[in-house]
Symmetry: C2
Subunit: 245 residues, 2 copies
DNA sequence: GATCGAAGGACGGAAGACCAAACCTTTTCT
DNA sequence: AGAAAAGGTTTGGTCTTCCGTCCTTCGATC
């Protein structure tokens, strides 16, 4: 039903070609970018953002636009600003509670998982091909941190994100890093409200370790295999809890 | 160098978070969408587009904005319009010659290949998991068409795209279909000016066939393996011709 | 303690993108 | 002849974004 058969010579009208063109404004995109970075812990609580005048040039937008975004983030409690010399904009320390996943998020959970699959598999293969010793050492450190966080899901999840984003960085593709952060943001919204007993987290981290060792040996095949298993874990849990996608 | 080691507990400032936020306008996005669909042959030469008044609602934009895009595409010779009842906007039959790849395209060729790797691997795995008999039959047909086009690279490339997009459709993820069309558009720009002797095309299509058979058997591992080889073909050629990425 | 400099905060106008709703012109079908 | 369906045109308004300027705060330095 998804893909009807069609003659090889002629062309059937595809669907995505005429799908709605979603034109996010610079303001929305900025709120999104910084917001997920904060949600994912990529911007640590208490850490300082670059000065507005610098940040707006880095983001390629006007300062007033950036300010709109920062105002929104400050009103939602994600950042706060102090004035005067030595002041600046900082990530709030007690982060506001994540809002519950929207109906739309939930209805698209399978698409999200599919997207994650593509990104993570690409990362696994490329990391196996390119990851250097320092990058691997860094990943090992994160794996250690993960083992120390089995009792605290929030902490575990943050380190988990750091590991996956770290893998994307080790893969050496900025596009993959960006896609990874986006996809992890979406996954976080889905996972947040699911119970994760320590045993599950422990076995998940064991997969991390196997993944890292496969990457160290440059064994792309094994890396993809381990990664696939790793992802199926979450997917099965979601499939059991959410309406069929 | 790409990813420096950092302590597991603290957070280093990531880079992509502050990367320029690219806010494409609706006009640009529309030209892009329709333009690549035409370039890729997803919209066949001579075929008719939906009426403006319908298309603009489907795309979720105003008619004036859509008209800007259509005007641009007509001026570049990709479409033409006829007035009056029974008229409409049609894809031009002799498509204008593709413009040579920009310097930026060439400098980012490795990123493009990385992105393609992720998309195609995801497609391979999910297609192996979900592809139905009809979808597979359609793919076989395209493979036949490919064998008939070994002497004509333009025709081969069009069928090649149809096959890869068809795989994405068989994978059942609209996101993957969209990503696939984008990535194939970028690849086309890169490949257009490279000689492809019939022997190369024949062996490439042999890989297609092995891929399809792996998918039919639901053998995700073999599918990813074949796909990886398939992609490495192009990548090696590009690596030999283009500056190191 | 006065001053300087660096940070956030606020305003106002100009430009551009987008939208909405008309209306005009051409062509074909009934 | 007229209705209908398509592209072509015009107008005016709204919203976003940009740019520049100025204000306010406050730590650091002299």
């Amino acid at each position: 039903m998804a893909a009807e058969r069609r003659a090889a010579g002629t062309l059937a009208p595809p669907e995505v070609v005429f799908a709605p063109v979603r034109s996010q404004t610079a303001f929305e995109e900025t709120v999104d970018r910084l917001g997920t970075a904060i949600k994912l812990g990529l911007l640590a609580p208490g850490s300082q953002l670059p000065a507005e005048r610098e940040l707006c040039t880095r983001l390629g937008i006007a300062r007033s636009t950036l300010r709109q975004a920062l105002t929104a983030l400050s009103q939602s409690g994600h950042v706060f600003a102090t004035r005067g010399r030595g002041g600046g904009t900082f990530v709030a320390d007690p982060q506001p509670p994540a809002d519950p996943p929207s109906a739309q998020m939930l209805s698209e959970w399978r698409e999200t998982c599919d997207r994650r699959l593509a990104v993570e598999l690409g990362v696994a293969v490329l990391a196996a091909e390119r990851a250097g010793p320092e990058a691997l050492a860094g990943l090992e450190d994160v794996a250690v941190a993960l083992d120390d966080s089995l009792e605290d899901f929030t902490a575990y999840r943050q380190a988990d994100i750091r590991l996956h984003v770290g893998l994307a960085e080790a893969a050496g593709s900025t596009w993959l890093v960006q896609a990874m952060t986006e996809v992890q943001g979406a996954m976080t919204d889905l996972i947040a409200y699911i119970a994760h007993p320590p045993e599950v987290l422990a076995s998940s981290n064991a997969q991390h370790r196997r993944l890292i060792s496969a990457i160290r040996e440059g064994d792309a095949m094994r890396a993809t295999q381990v990664m696939t298993e790793h992802l199926q874990g979450t997917e099965h849990v979601l499939a059991g809890l959410l309406p069929r996608g």
